[in-house]
Amino acid sequence: MSVSMQERLARIRINAFLYLRADWLARLIDIFGSAEEILKQNAETLAQQAQMNPSTAAHFLRDAFAIDPQEELEKTEKYGGRILIPEDEAYPQALRSIKEAPVALYVLGQLPSKHQACIGMVGTRKITPYGRRAATTLAEGLAEAGAVIVSGLARGVDSYCHAAAVRKAKPTLAVIGTGIGRCYPAENRELARAILQHGGAIISELPFNKPPNAFHFPRRNRIIAALSELVVVVEGEAKSGALITAKLALEMGKDVLAVPGPIDSPQSAGPNNLIRDGAGVVTCVKDIIDYIPEPELFDLQTPSTDKEVQQTAQDLPDTQKRVLEYIGSQEVSADQLVEALGLSVPEAASVLFELEVQGFLTSRAGLYSKNKF
């Protein structure tokens, strides 16, 4: 089905009104026959025919005419992206079938093919060292197995999941809560660039330069849920955005898996509650892949176990091995190492430096923890 350029521009216009759910916009298109037709109405007829509040209708038209769709197209193309509408063939099938399919989808990079299994991985922005290890290990394993990680490019779990895929030079899909012309949080700019470089994609339904706003994020979660075969909650507080994604996925009839965590960690309350309510338990990459409903549709390799890291750890000098062993799954300060292992401060400092540079450890506020299990 081909859509005229005029209609396409009109769709971009009506998509700019953020206070009406996408299914309402679709209903408007149904009532008037096309987006072009909607924009020809005045606020009163719009309100009357679509049974809308007159002030909402006025606001709708104001927002729709406030943006320049031609400019939106040009800017997106300048970034090497495109704006898809549901009639386009490239528009993801998984999105087209949901109730609230985005009226317009801004896409940078390469969307996953239908042979690639998309796995949603979501979680808190306040990641703990445990969450970091879990996110990194699982996401790296999934990426190596050939799955595409779908997440939200936020701080914390999201960025660790994307980064794991990028490190393995595999594509990953970021659904962001701002326009694609922006990066939020700004510190993830490097990561966003790397995602595009490794064949991944960054998508958003928001106008090109839309700044972040609290209500954008729960909204974009439906896109993450829709695009994923299943959703893995790595870490999340009892009430968090990650759980919204999980709930939406369940409503769409998808499986939700959770990474169990310590019962006294607030960041694990979300996944632990999900498990209590019947979510699948994730302890390794295979647990996730086993849950994919029709695995034969995708090109997936059986995940390798994480021998690689252990192998390199075996080759380390003695002191470094002792330090890693002592740290275990804890967060440990340099002072504790000095006391427990009888090292001098300069010794401990250079050992920690080497382990950190080689990627075995991460320090946060003076506490060191392992990057992987």
């Binding site: 922005r125 306040k126 990641i127 970091r132 990194t136 701080r155 914390g156 960025s159 660790y160 980064a163 794991a164 990028v166 490190r167 949080p185 510190e187 993830n188 490097e190 990561l191 790397a194 607030p266 967060e331 300060s333 340099a334 002072d335 504790q336 000095v338 006391e339 401060v345 300069p346 401990a348 400092a349 250079s350 920690l352 430096f353 080497e354 950190e356 540079v357 990627g359 320090s363 946060r364 506020a365 003076g366 506490l367």
Partner: protein
């Protein structure tokens, strides 16, 4: 009749000579002081009138004009009471010719009480050092005896205006207007703070040792109660002892601020200043329409401890940049510009986040990531660039605290620091540089050659920790200090690695790519 008496005023921490000219002529009884006097100098009229009367002299009911020369410079302080009173006595004919001649050779400083007795005033030491009483003697209040002795001039300390007049007339022998020499009591080590009081925190102690050895500034980040202030208060104790010159400098500053006790001749301990975080800019770096040294100058040659560093107002923190860079503060006002010395070691302490629980083993931090990054970014880049060592302090669990090593005593650490300082003195002989932290780019090139394999370390640090090229200089200077502490001629790779563990605030949890 006309009389002229020599006196002094302060500009910055130096004195300049002021001629106090008094003219008494017939006419309507008036008493005016000219020559840019400040409020306290103008008020001296009332004290002088009462003091003269209460000393048993007649106050001349004539037209009295006092001129403070050089007339174009502002004069402040209460030290003009005595010279003005003496000038009036001389000009009114209350003193004999011989006495007036004797008065001309003296340098007079002192505040007068209404009963005519002399009260101590500020800045006697720097004024006596800058203005020598050429052949004659200085006259200072008994309360400033120690400062007079410290300046090393001949001086007398009459108790009252009457005593001074009687001595001038030859009615009192010199011995009776002088205090007998008082031997200075040695600075007693009363409840000295020692590093071994702090249990555990080996990393922080090591960082402070490096800071003391090389004059580096330190930022301590830690949860409340981890010992940040405890460590900072003990820091001055491991710095090398004050040299004569340094001691004189700080004594002068304290004299200007009137903070020297009656019994202090010289300050022998390095100052430790810990202003509250609500301090104003002017109080921190000095200022006022009539400039006074601020906390940074009072911390000269010592330690400035800023607790709750991130709670200071942003503009207050920014004014710290000049003293940290130059070791002095220049205060420019419409009327004058003064420079105060301000070379101190900055020890800043802050919580890791606004709620103070980030990284606590049991408590939960309630701050949002945005709050944390806003809190930490309150310390601007240019300021962080002047801080060479950043240390994270973590709470010590009771089980650890109980068995934690006490570590070395302050005396042991101070000995190592002194040895490292001596190495630096030898290295920087004949230059203005006093410690590694103040090396110029040229000196860094000369004294901090990189060992083999260092390139890989620094490259990894830049990639992994987001270290800027600008901060590499800091790393080299600090590594030089560690090498000095170990008595090594050259910087070694382990030194660099250690320094890199004292790097500034973490990046905001961005994963590696």
């Amino acid at each position: 009749m006309l009389a002229s008496v020599r006196s002094c005023a302060l500009r910055g921490i130096d004195g300049f000579e002021v001629q106090t000219e008094v003219d008494i002529s017939s006419g309507m009884p008036t008493f005016s002081v000219v020559g840019l006097p400040d409020a306290e100098v103008k008020e001296s009229k009332e004290r002088v009138i009462a003091a003269i009367r209460n000393s048993g002299f007649d106050f001349p009911l004539k037209r009295i004009t006092v001129n403070l020369s050089p007339a174009e410079r502002r004069k402040s302080g209460t030290q003009f009471d005595l010279p003005i009173a003496a000038g009036i006595l001389a000009a009114s004919g209350a003193l004999s010719k011989e006495a007036v001649a004797k008065l001309g050779s003296l340098l007079l400083l002192g505040e007068l009480a209404l009963d005519g007795s002399l009260r101590p005033c500020a800045g006697v030491l720097p004024m006596l050092i800058s203005v020598k009483p050429q052949g004659g003697m200085a006259v200072i209040p008994p309360g400033n005896f120690m400062e007079g002795q410290s300046a090393g001039n001949a001086f007398i300390t009459p108790r009252t205006l009457r005593d001074l007049a009687d001595w001038l007339e030859g009615k009192l022998p010199t011995e009776s207007v002088q205090i007998a020499y008082m031997p200075e009591t040695d600075p007693t080590p009363e409840n000295k703070l020692d590093f071994s009081d702090v249990k555990g925190q080996a990393v922080a102690k090591r960082a402070l040792e490096i800071a003391a050895a090389g004059g580096h500034n330190v930022l301590l980040i830690g949860l409340p109660g981890t010992g940040k202030s405890m460590l900072a208060k003990r820091f001055a104790g491991i710095l090398p002892p004050l040299s004569e010159e340094e001691s004189l400098e700080i004594t002068k500053i304290y004299s200007v601020c009137n903070l020297l006790g009656k019994m202090t001749r010289r300050l022998h301990e390095r100052p430790f200043r810990d202003p509250h975080h609500t301090i104003s800019e002017a109080a921190l770096i000095g200022g006022g329409s009539n400039p006074r040294p601020g906390e940074v100058s009072l911390a000269h040659n010592g330690v400035l401890f800023l607790d709750e560093f991130a709670e200071f107002s942003r503009s207050t923190l920014e004014v710290l940049r000049q003293p940290l860079e130059n070791g002095s503060v220049t205060i420019s006002r419409a009327k004058e510009t003064v420079t105060y010395p301000a070379r101190f070691t900055l020890i800043a302490a802050m919580n890791p986040c606004p709620c103070g629980n980030l990284g606590h083993p049991h408590k939960t931090c309630t701050c949002s990531p945005v709050q944390i990054s806003r809190y930490q970014s309150k310390i601007s880049g240019p300021l962080l660039d002047r801080i060479d060592l950043t240390v994270n302090l973590n709470p010590v669990a009771y089980s650890d605290w109980n068995k934690a090593a006490e570590g070395d005593t302050s005396a042991q650490i101070a000995a190592r620091v002194l040895a490292a300082r001596q190495r630096q003195q030898k290295r920087f002989k004949g230059t203005d540089t006093t410690a590694n932290a103040f090396m110029t780019t040229q000196q860094i090139k000369q004294f901090c050659p990189l060992p083999a394999g260092a390139d890989a370390i620094l490259e990894a640090a830049m990639r992994k920790f987001g270290l800027s090229a600008r901060s590499l200089d800091k790393v080299l200077k600090t590594a030089r200090t560690i090498a000095d502490l170990e008595g090594k001629e050259q910087i070694e790779n382990t030194h660099l690695m250690e320094v890199l563990q004292y790097r500034p605030l973490d990046r905001k949890g961005v994963p590696d790519l």
